[in-house]
C-alpha cells in the first residue's frame, strides 16, 4: 500500500492527467502533486493520485528499479503488490 508506481504523463486536463503505466493508461488525479506536471513528465502514483513529479534525472533509475521488481517470480510479495497496483489501474480507464 505504501509503494507508489511511476508512470509517464501522456496528457494533462486541468486536475487530472492520463498516465501510462507500462502500457496501461489511466486517468490520475493531480490534486496532491508537489509541482505542476506536463505531458512527458513522470509521476509517482499512489491510490489514483500523483503524489510526486519524478525529477527527470531520477526517471531512469526509478524505472529500472520497478522493471527489476516486475520481473520477480509470482511468489514475490513486493512484485505482487506492484503488479496488483498496475492491474487495479486497468479496471478504471
Amino acid at each position: 500500500m505504501c509503494l507508489g508506481v511511476p508512470g509517464l504523463v501522456v496528457e494533462v486536463d486541468d486536475l487530472t492527467a492520463v498516465v501510462d503505466f507500462w502500457g496501461v493508461r489511466r486517468r490520475v488525479r493531480l490534486d496532491l502533486v508537489d509541482e505542476p506536471v506536463a505531458a512527458g513528465d513522470y509521476v509517482l502514483n499512489h491510490v489514483g493520485f500523483a503524489i510526486r513529479r519524478i525529477p527527470p534525472e531520477d526517471v531512469q533509475t526509478t524505472l529500472e528499479l520497478y522493471e527489476q521488481l516486475l520481473k520477480e517470480a509470482s511468489g514475490d510479495l513486493m512484485a505482487t503488490d506492484v503488479r496488483s497496483e498496475i492491474e487495479n489501474l486497468k479496471s478504471e480507464f
Partner: protein, 399 residues
Amino acid sequence: MAALEFRDPIRAKALAAALARATGDVGREVSLMHVCGSHEQAIAKFGLRSAFPRDLNVIMGPGCPVCITDQPEIDEAVALARQGARIATYGDMVRVPGTAGSLADAQARGARIDTVYSVAQAVDLARETPDDVVFFATGFETTAVATAAVILAGVPKNFSVLSAHKYIPPVMEIVAEMPGTRVEGFLAAGHAATITGWGIFEPFVARHHLPVVVAGFEPLDILAALVKLVELVRDRAPAVVNMFPRCVTREGNRNAQRRLWQVFRPIGGRWRGIAHIPNGNLRLRDEWAAVDARRRFTIDLASLWQHAPSTLARQCICGNIMAGIASPDDCPLFGGACVPDAPVGACMVSSEGTCRIWHQYGGVPDLTAVARPFQGRDDRGAEGPALRDNASRGPVCPI
C-alpha cells in the same frame, strides 16, 4: 545499469561487513525498528537477517496499515454494512476479522461491500447510486492525503467517510518508550516520507534522542541505512539522516500536507494490540461533520459485541508482534491454524503484515541449512556471495 547496483553482491558484502563492525563497536545488543511492510518484505525475501551480526536485532514495528486498524474500527464498518450502508474500502480490509467476523463475512450474509483501488472510485460509486456509500478509510498519512483530496474537491450527499486513518510519528513516540522493546533507532519508510518529508522526524529525535534514518525499499538501500543507523547509535549522535534523497526532501510534499490537515485532525486512539496512541488516529475536522460517517449514522456496535471473540482469536499475538516484543514464530497459530488463506489475525491478511511476509519467505533464515553469507568466505569465488533470495525456495511452512 543503476538498478543492478542495488543487487551488487560486492557492495552487499561490504555493507554487511560495515554493519558487523559498527555493531561490534557498540559492544552490546542493539535493537532497531522499521515501520514499513515493504522493508520487511525485502528483509525477509533476501534473508537479510542472516547477514546481520548476532547482536543486531531488526524488528518490524507497526508498519502495516491493515494490521494496526483496530478491531472496533472493523466492527464499526461491519455494523454500518449490516445497517444497510454500502461499504467501499481497500482490498485487504475486507478480510480482516472483527469481533463478529470480517466485512467479507458480512457480504456473504447479504451486506454490500465494494473493494476499490482508490477513494476516487468510492466517490464515483456514490454518484452512480442513490444508496449511502461509506468509504472505510484506512492507511497511514500517505493514503489519508487522498481521502482529504476527494473531500476538498466535493463529494455527493450520499458519500461519507469512516476514518481509520493513522498517523505514524506518534506511534514511534510510544514504541520508543515501551520497556519491552528498548528500540534504539528507527528506519523510516522512504515512500511515506515522500509526502511528509524527513523533517517530520526532527521533533521525535529531539525528544527521545534516538536516531531515524529514511531508507528506500531495495535490499541494499536497507543494508546501507542500517549501517548508518548503527553508526549513529554507536556515536550517540541522534539525528535524522535521509538515505533516500532520490525521493524524499526535508519539507516533503507541502501541497499534500496542507490538504491533509485541512480535512483531518489527530486524536488519540487505539492501534490494534499496541496501545492507546495519543494523536495517532486521524479524524475528520468538525467542519467536515457532514461527511463523517460517525456523526451521520448511529453505529450499532452493541449487537456485534454480544459475540465473544473466538478461542483462536484470543490466542492471536498480532499486537505483541507489532509492538516488537514477539515474532510470528512465537505464535502457536502461525502457519498452522493461521495461514494466508484462512487468517486469524490481521498480520496474516495483508502482504505488508509481518506474519504474511514470514509465512511467505521465512523470517529468520535457518542458518544450519545454508552457509552463512557475508562472513567473508573466500571459497565462493571472487564475486563474493550474492544476496540469498528466499523467494526461490517458495513459501516456507514453519511448522
